[in-house]
């Protein structure tokens, strides 16, 4: 099979980009979308042209590095699948496929299809962790966790932080990502001590980065490669409201250490 690609090419942050059309060589349907781009890039490199820059790492759907909006849907045509696990057999011979970067003001485009997702790291650093002493692993089952909660927490922990939710949202809102991170820890006993501080810190950082707000359209959950649901956004909304009502804790001189 062969397809025509319409790829967003942009030299760097400050240069405006444009779409360029590329005819692929003969492809194998069992190639992943990224392998197809590798083949196209090989051709470009052989001709002395600049290869198409795109993000990828594990290529097995667990790292969240691959991105791409493929024909209007982040991560391509399937549900619950990342771009690296999208295969060319999902397309027809002769298809014209638009390949665009994730578009959002906080996801600045670095080059071609590569965008800067450090804003997600900063949100995580604001509170997406628990403060514990390191050392020997604690006894298993020393802290009981209700099975329902551990299942839900695992669902939230599936989030690979790829940013497809932002890419799909008409408002470029990051609430699905932040909600997954907030709920994942908020559902577990280990996350309780910092639960309300966490949600405030992470939402504050999310707002500072310039993401939009949720309009409950549901496109984020529809494109999420890990099928994270809007239930988690409701959970975050609830925690944030409780956190606001509780107020900020009394400041302690020296940070209380």
């Amino acid at each position: 099979m062969k397809v025509t690609l319409k790829v967003w090419r942009q030299k760097n942050k400050s240069t405006p980009g444009e779409f360029k059309a590329y005819q692929t060589p003969e492809l194998n349907g069992n190639m992943s979308f990224l392998e197809m781009l590798d083949v196209v890039n090989e051709g470009l490199a052989n001709k002395g042209e600049e290869p198409i820059a795109f993000d990828h790492d594990c290529r097995e759907g667990i790292c969240g590095t691959c991105s791409l909006v493929i024909d209007g849907k982040p991560h391509g045509p399937h549900q619950g699948i990342a771009t690296c696990q999208t295969y060319m057999r999902s397309f027809e011979d002769g298809d014209e496929i638009y390949v665009e970067p994730f578009r959002a003001a906080p996801f600045e485009i670095i080059k071609d299809l590569v965008c800067d997702r450090k804003s997600f790291d900063r949100i995580q650093q604001a509170g997406g962790f628990i403060t514990v002493r390191t050392g020997a692993a604690p006894d298993a089952n020393s802290i009981p966790v209700p099975k329902d909660n551990s299942d839900l927490a695992m669902d939230a922990a599936q989030c690979i932080g790829c940013g497809a939710c932002v890419a799909a949202c008409k408002n470029a809102s990051a609430m699905l990502f932040v909600a997954a991170k907030v709920s994942h820890l908020g559902l577990l006993p280990q996350g309780q001590p910092e639960r309300f501080k966490r949600v405030k810190a992470m939402v504050d950082q999310m707002d500072k980065e310039g993401f939009g707000s949720c309009s409950v359209t549901g496109s984020c959950e529809a494109v999420c490669p890990k099928s994270i649901t809007l239930d988690f956004i409701a959970m975050m909304n609830r925690d944030y409201a409780v956190a606001l009502l509780k107020g900020d804790p009394k400041p302690i001189a020296g940070g209380g250490a």
Binding site: K6, W8, F19, V69, D71, G72, K73, P74, Y98, E100, R103, A104, A105, P106, A168, K170, N171, A172, S173, M175, K200, V203, D204, M206, D207, G210, F211, G212, S213, C214, S215, V216, T217, G218, S219, E221, A222, V223, T229, L230, D231, I233, A234, M235, M236, N237, R238, D239, Y240, A241, L244, L245, G247, D248
Partner: protein, 259 residues
């Protein structure tokens, strides 16, 4: 205080404001519907109700000011959110799919704007009684006697008002958009306030959709029944004399009766 700052300026806080003000407006919409449906009873029913409201100015003005505050919060926050959301996606995609987003969820600001235009018209039409917006005449001339008092003939105003085809059409369009707004907005309100879980969400979406359909039917049958001359056409004929009379006359026992 941080809580006030976060309520008005954080993304989640603004969603709470939308949801709470939307809920208050929805509460009014339900109460107002129950009041208006009295037009299907005898004229004395709705005229008595209107007279009762007029006789409680503190209650009416309290509710009006509260509603005005809610409308202001809802609109100001809607505009702020819409602008921020636009700014978060400065460059649009060349090829775009809706990816599961319903049309009503994408056009809340559009349906809201038509509702706003309607609210302004509706106030001019039936509250301030501006004569040039109703296509008929000076509605302040419509009076009747209720319980020994001379009162505004709200029933006549309605049955005359909705015989004008373009008034009825505009009301129906506005109700259609209100329905569209609520079809998404009501369930979204639960989401914004965090009142949702895996087991409740299907119930919430179905129930809120049913309620928005109910509101649409309730509000639409009023102008429709009047326009189709099912309700109050005889009364409208009689009351219309009052409207076009040179001097104010009162159907029934005359203006002096109430004094």
């Amino acid at each position: 205080m941080k809580i006030i700052d976060r309520l008005f300026n954080s993304s989640l806080g603004k969603k709470y404001l939308m949801a709470i003000s939307g809920l208050a407006l929805f509460g009014f919409i339900v109460g107002h519907l129950v009041g208006n449906l009295q037009v299907f009873g005898p004229p004395e029913l709705i005229n008595g109700y209107a007279h009762f409201l007029k006789s409680k100015p503190a209650l009416v003005w309290g509710a009006r000011l509260g509603l005005l505050a809610m409308v202001a919060i809802h609109i100001v926050t809607a505009v702020r959110l819409t602008m921020e959301n636009k700014a978060a996606r400065p460059v649009q995609y060349a090829k775009w799919k809706e990816n599961g987003a319903s049309k009503s969820s994408q056009y809340m600001i559009v349906s809201g704007s038509v509702i706003l235009a309607f609210i302004i018209y509706h106030l001019a039409h039936f509250t301030v009684l501006l004569p040039f917006v109703n296509g008929e005449g000076d509605f302040t001339k419509l009076t009747t006697v209720f319980d020994g008092h001379q009162v505004a003939d709200v029933y006549a105003m309605m049955v005359i008002g909705f015989q004008v085809w373009w008034v009825t059409l505009f009301y129906l369009i506005a109700q259609g958009l209100l329905f569209w707004h609520l079809f998404h907005g009501l369930s979204s309100m639960f989401q914004s306030l965090g009142l949702r879980s895996y087991s409740w969400w299907p119930v919430i979406t179905k129930a809120t959709k049913a309620v928005s359909i109910g509101i649409f039917i309730g509000y639409s049958i009023i102008p429709l029944a009047i326009f189709l001359r099912i309700v109050g056409s005889d009364y409208a004929e009689k009351a219309r004399h009052q409207l076009h009379a040179e001097t104010v006359q009162v159907v029934g026992s005359g203006k002096e009766a109430g004094k």
